[in-house]
């Protein structure tokens, strides 16, 4: 027995001595990640810092801590540059497009994920194909459509156009999620005498909460930060501008108001940061679930 044991030990490959202890490895990893994080976060920190500086101080190379912090930039951005109005416009477009997008894509995803009908594969293929068309090519036709519908110069039109950006992706996310749900849930609901609409609303949609949250977060980011579409649609009507277009207006022909622009940018990102802080757990669950599904 002893011989056999010794034989096994002799045949076993020699263990490699660890170059670095696990504790040191963790420390090195943390430092590398902290450096990467600092690089990533630096532009935002710089923007916040600059928003509390005067235009002269921004270019005075005074470091990240302002010498004489001022909120004048915020006041000027909010009132004079009409950021308050743009904030409302953006909020309207974002909330409206999120509501429309969630309902529309959940319904489409439910049908595509749970029902077998002729042409389903073709329909999904066409939807995926549209992902490869750059947004720039579709802006003029979208604008034409809105004008024909009498919505070319309204926030409603901008909101509806904003819904279209990621409809395909969100629909496929919902379809994938609904497809993996057990059919017995729907059958139990059918046996209970519950119709398909109520089954969707009371059973399937609540169960797809991770995807709903993912769509809410992604569509909010999309709508809030969208630039090209609102720029084109609001060209002739500055009152309809959204924040991203409004921030761009700080760039004059001869002068750029960097302080005001940074204050406006800081105002712009606050709602997004708050939203993400509240929903990040569901958001990550949703994406993980969609990948696993």
């Amino acid at each position: 027995m002893a011989d056999a044991t010794m034989g096994r030990t002799a045949r076993a490959p020699a263990r490699r001595e660890a170059m670095v202890s696990p504790r040191a490895r963790r420390t090195i990893t943390s430092v590398v990640l902290a450096v990467l994080c600092a690089v990533w976060v630096y532009p935002i920190v710089w923007m916040i810092s600059a928003s509390f500086k005067t235009n002269n101080e921004i270019f005075g190379d005074t470091g990240l801590i302002p010498d004489a912090p001022t909120v004048e930039n915020y006041a000027r951005a909010w009132s004079e540059a009409n950021i308050g109005r743009y904030f409302f416009n953006t909020m309207f477009v974002t909330v409206g497009s999120v509501v429309v997008t969630v309902i529309a894509t959940a319904l489409m995803g439910y049908v595509l994920g749970r029902r077998r009908f002729p042409g389903r594969g073709l329909l999904m293929g066409l939807m995926v194909f549209t992902l490869f068309i750059p947004q720039g090519y579709t802006i003029i036709p979208v604008f034409e459509l809105l004008t024909t519908a009498g919505l070319g110069q309204s926030l409603w039109g901008l909101m509806l156009a904003t819904c279209g950006h990621s409809v395909v992706i969100f629909t496929l996310l919902f379809a994938g999620y609904f497809a993996q749900m057990p059919k017995e849930l729907e059958e139990a609901s059918r046996m209970d005498g519950v119709g398909p609409v109520k089954t969707f609303w009371y059973v399937m949609l609540p169960l797809s909460k991770p995807i709903v949250v993912t769509v809410v977060v992604l569509q909010t980011l999309q709508a809030w930060n969208d630039f090209l579409l609102p720029l084109v649609i609001t060209l002739a009507n500055p009152d309809l501008r959204t924040l991203s277009v409004g921030v761009y207006s700080f760039r004059g022909e001869h002068f750029i108001d960097w302080g005001g622009m940074n204050a406006a940018s800081a105002i712009t990102i606050i709602p997004i940061v708050i939203l993400f802080l509240f929903l990040q757990r569901y958001f990550i669950d949703g994406l993980a679930g969609a990948v696993k599904g």
Binding site: E184, A188, M191, G193, K198, V203, L207
Partner: protein, 348 residues
């Protein structure tokens, strides 16, 4: 409560015919079990009664009403699924009352029915829990509760114990048997592939194979007088022993009395008695001690594995040479596998 009648019921999926003309009469208050191997069509038949699958041909009646073209909700049937199919985001009370609420029942009445079902199923302490906080057995009870609150004419169970572990399966099986009495002997149709469940629960067993009914009858009738080789082999544990006959003799040439033109001789494990001059010889290959019985699997001279039952405590060892007499009931089957006669007592 009402009975269920199936008349020449057929079902095809595309070109594949899965139910091939089934006639079954389930009486009011009867506990009927559909049993058969995987793919025999028993679950499909149950889903056709429920209305979850369309009926291709024939008639299905519940309580004397033809229900072929009715929605599941209008058939007066409630179903308990193998996977429970509970709504994960609703607590137990909401799960049980969901159907009634969605159909506009008054809240008081829904609450009363949910409380009553919870009392019957001993679920009262769990009414505000979500399904994920319940054990498998409790979840299955909630699924049964969801059926009870609807006060259906017929309960349909689709392999309700398959997802439970062995111990819980026995306990829940007893609860379902008790429930049948508690609910005023309601009509229940129960699907399983487990013949022990079928034998212990059923008033009437329907044995299905390949979309056809092989035999219908009370459990002991099927056990004692199987209509063919399939039923004889399917009902009873351990499986019935079969020996091919040739001109009234076993493969080794040992003659068997009073077999006529039979091609197969069947006898159960408990029909064999050890006998020094018995006609059946074998070498023990495996011994199973079950506590209340000993099963000895033995190999015959022509290489077939058979099994014999002995009283508890009998000392048998693998490798031992034994001889048996067929002392219990014998079953004879013709060349088509059909029973030739009721179980025959051995010649004296």
């Amino acid at each position: 409560m009402s009975g269920v009648t199936l008349r020449n019921v057929t079902k095809t999926f595309g070109a594949v015919k899965v139910i091939k003309g089934v006639d079954i009469e389930i009486g009011e208050g009867e506990f009927c079990v559909f049993v058969g191997p995987s793919g025999c069509g028993k679950s499909t038949l149950l889903r056709m009664i429920a209305g979850l699958e369309e009926t291709t041909g024939g008639d299905i009646e519940i309580g004397g009403r033809r229900v072929n073209d009715l929605d599941p909700k209008d058939r007066g049937a409630a179903m308990v699924f193998q996977t429970y199919a509970l709504y994960p985001h609703m607590d137990v009370a909401r799960n049980m009352g969901f159907g009634l609420r969605m159909n506009g029942w008054p809240k008081d009445e829904v609450d009363r029915r949910v409380q009553e079902a919870a009392r019957i199923l001993q679920l009262e302490p769990y009414l505000d829990r979500k399904p994920k906080a319940l054990s498998g057995g409790q979840r299955q009870r909630v699924a049964i509760g969801r059926a009870i609150v609807r006060d259906p004419e017929v309960f349909l169970f689709d392999e309700p114990l398959s997802n439970l572990d062995a111990e819980l399966r026995v306990a829940t099986r007893l609860e379902i048997a008790k429930l049948h009495g508690t609910l005023g002997n309601s009509t229940m149709v129960y699907v399983t592939h487990d013949q022990v469940e079928a034998m212990t629960l059923a008033d009437k067993i329907v044995v299905l194979r390949d979309g056809r009914v092989e035999q219908v009858g009370p459990p002991m009738e099927l056990y004692r007088n199987p209509a063919n080789l399939f039923v004889a082999g399917f009902i009873g544990s351990p499986k019935m022993n079969f020996v091919e006959l040739s001109s009234g003799a076993m493969p080794d040439g040992t003659p068997v009395a009073q077999t006529g033109t039979a091609r197969t001789l069947g006898f159960r494990a408990d029909a064999l008695r050890r006998s020094a001059d018995g006609p059946l010889a074998g070498t023990v290959s495996v011994v199973e001690q079950l506590g209340d019985a000993v099963f000895a699997h033995f190999r015959t001279p022509w290489g077939q594995e058979l099994v014999a039952r002995f009283d508890p405590g009998t000392e048998i060892r693998a490798g031992e040479e034994l001889r048996f007499d067929i002392a219990g009931p014998r079953h004879l089957f013709d060349a088509d596998g059909q029973a030739m006669d009721a179980a025959l007592r051995p010649a004296a």
